[in-house]
């Protein structure tokens, strides 16, 4: 068991390294570099370009630059933003906090609700409750986040006036203020992945219900409720945990759009702005951080599944 955990951690570490390499190489292989991107038309002027390159150390060979970059990363130094001319860590730090607040708000409320609903509709399969909820989930799944965002703003901010819609808090506002700014963006984020989780849980429960051991439990005379509780649910939910982890990690991409739609001061909005500014070092850093978050979330989900699955804890004697 310990071996399995170590191997999983090792795999995660390798993935992190590969992410770093990919982010670096991705920029390398493109024509031009951070300076040409940043300077735009000014790049035609050779001295300005050379100046910039000198400052950014872009004249060194790629491998050397990668090592320097990686070395800096290991020490927590993410480089300097070209546009804003400040250390990236200072820019990214508070916004990362904000994004995590948003993501947690969305996940904590959404995941249990989605699992619970998924189980409920599976047990009432093909009945009105199931049809309504499943269809709603299907529709929710197919709508892009920006559409949901716009709809929610329309309904709750403009027509009902309950919320201000667009977020006005600054990026360095205290955590609590930001928490209160999260309801609409969190709901937007949650709606789509909840629909995915619900459908997946529903299908897993229905599949498990046809298993031989469920029939066996019935043949023993076990009451239905107990069958559901002790035999059906543990075996139905367990395989969904890694995929739930995957879905949550995919939340990250939704974050980019949702934050932009609501003007929420998080990492996603920062990334969009960085791209608009053609600030490559900043874009690279945010991509790297997103990758790290994704790897951690899938790692936690896999470890959790391992902990709960007796088959992985012990071997055949």
């Amino acid at each position: 068991m310990l071996g399995l955990i170590l191997r999983r951690l090792g795999a995660a570490w390798i993935t992190v390294v590969v992410v770093a390499v990919v982010v670096f190489v991705g920029v390398e292989v493109m024509p031009g570099d951070a300076c040409t991107a940043m300077l735009g038309r000014d790049a035609a002027r050779i001295e300005v370009l050379e100046n910039c390159r000198d400052r950014m150390g872009l004249n060194r060979p790629p491998v050397e630059r990668f090592n320097a970059w990686a070395g800096d990363l290991a020490q927590g130094d993410l480089g300097v933003s070209m546009k804003r001319e400040r250390p990236i860590v200072d820019i990214v730090g508070p916004r990362l906090r904000n994004t995590l607040i948003l993501a947690f708000a969305a996940a904590l409320a959404g995941v249990p609700l989605a699992i619970g609903l998924g189980v409920m509709v599976a047990l009432r399969r093909e009945r009105p409750f199931d049809i309504i909820v499943s269809t709603t989930a299907l529709v929710a799944m197919t709508m892009p986040e920006f559409v949901v965002a716009a709809l929610l703003i329309l309904i709750f901010a403009i027509w009902l006036g309950w919320s201000s819609g667009v977020v006005t808090a600054a990026y360095d506002a205290p955590a609590l203020t930001l928490l209160f700014a999260t309801p609409l963006p969190a709901v937007t984020l949650a709606l789509v992945y909840m629909a995915h989780i619900l459908r997946m849980v529903r299908s897993s429960v229905i599949d498990t219900a046809g298993a031989d051991y469920i029939l066996m439990a019935r043949m023993k005379g076990v009451p239905e409720r107990q069958i559901v509780r002790r035999h059906l649910l543990p075996n139905a939910i367990l395989p969904t945990i890694p995929v739930i982890g995957l879905t949550l990690a995919w939340l990250l991409s939704g974050v980019v759009i949702v934050e932009s739609a609501f003007n929420y001061p998080g990492l996603g909005r920062l990334a969009v702005n960085a791209v608009a500014d053609r600030d490559l070092p900043l874009v690279q850093a945010t991509a790297l951080i997103f990758g790290l978050i994704y790897v951690s979330m899938t790692l936690i989900a896999d470890l959790l599944a391992m902990a709960l699955n007796p088959r992985l804890r012990t071997r055949r004697l």
Binding site: V18, V19, P144, M200, V256, A271, V272, A276, L280, A287
Partner: protein, 283 residues
Amino acid sequence: MSGAPILRAVLSQPSGAIGITLVVGHVMLAVLSPLVLPHDPIAQSADLMLQMPSLSHPFGTDRLGRDILSRVMLGGREAMLIATLATLVAMVWGTVVGIFLALIGGRIDTYIMRIVDALSSIPGILIVMIFVAALGVGATALIPILGCSYGLSVVYIARAAALDFVARDFVLAAQARGEARATILIREILPNVRDTLAVQGAMQWSWLMLGITSLSFLGLGVAPPTPDWGLMIADARGVMPTAPWAVLWPMAMLSTLIVGVNLATDSFAKALGVDRQMGVRAA
């Protein structure tokens, strides 16, 4: 099963029938709309700004005075074109790599899947954004980028589907006979995973539509003045209190198309016996 019986099975279900109707409707609209536009979609007009729906402008006008109906009719074309081409790219390279990895197994499989894992862990939208930041916006640039990025999830699906068959005796039998690997790939495995891949292709297409319109929303996708639903929604955000129709119509168009594709795909999957729970949306 092949062709006509499947179509009939799909159309016999209400969800399938609705889905196909929606998709066919949208495709026809996209193809025929340039011929039936009521107004010039990019003509701006200072006195017609934010008009409510009326007889001359059944969907109203946007904040630059452009006719929304015409823009909405064209709004899907560019995105659908990009989505179709990108889907082709994604399916081709994803399938070839996925099946190849399933066949070859061993260390090569492990190493390459590690790289694929790492690539998948960066949200697709960010990968696209990196490229856009470095190269600038353009539809032609988007196609290969999106194709490569969305192809990653196809690799997983194709590999999983192929693995299901690789362990079967008929592949073993082919290997025992001494058939070449390429022959095994094409003759033995591909016909069996064809259905799964077809369903996956349809889902990829819908995800790509969502992705492209999202990018347009962020200003990183289709470039103005070409009409695009995502762009229109982004444009109209500021004027939502006074002119909700500017936002609602493009929303409705996009949603009906996506819902239609999903309903049709679900129906097809059921008719073909394919499990479509596999695969999480790739950004």
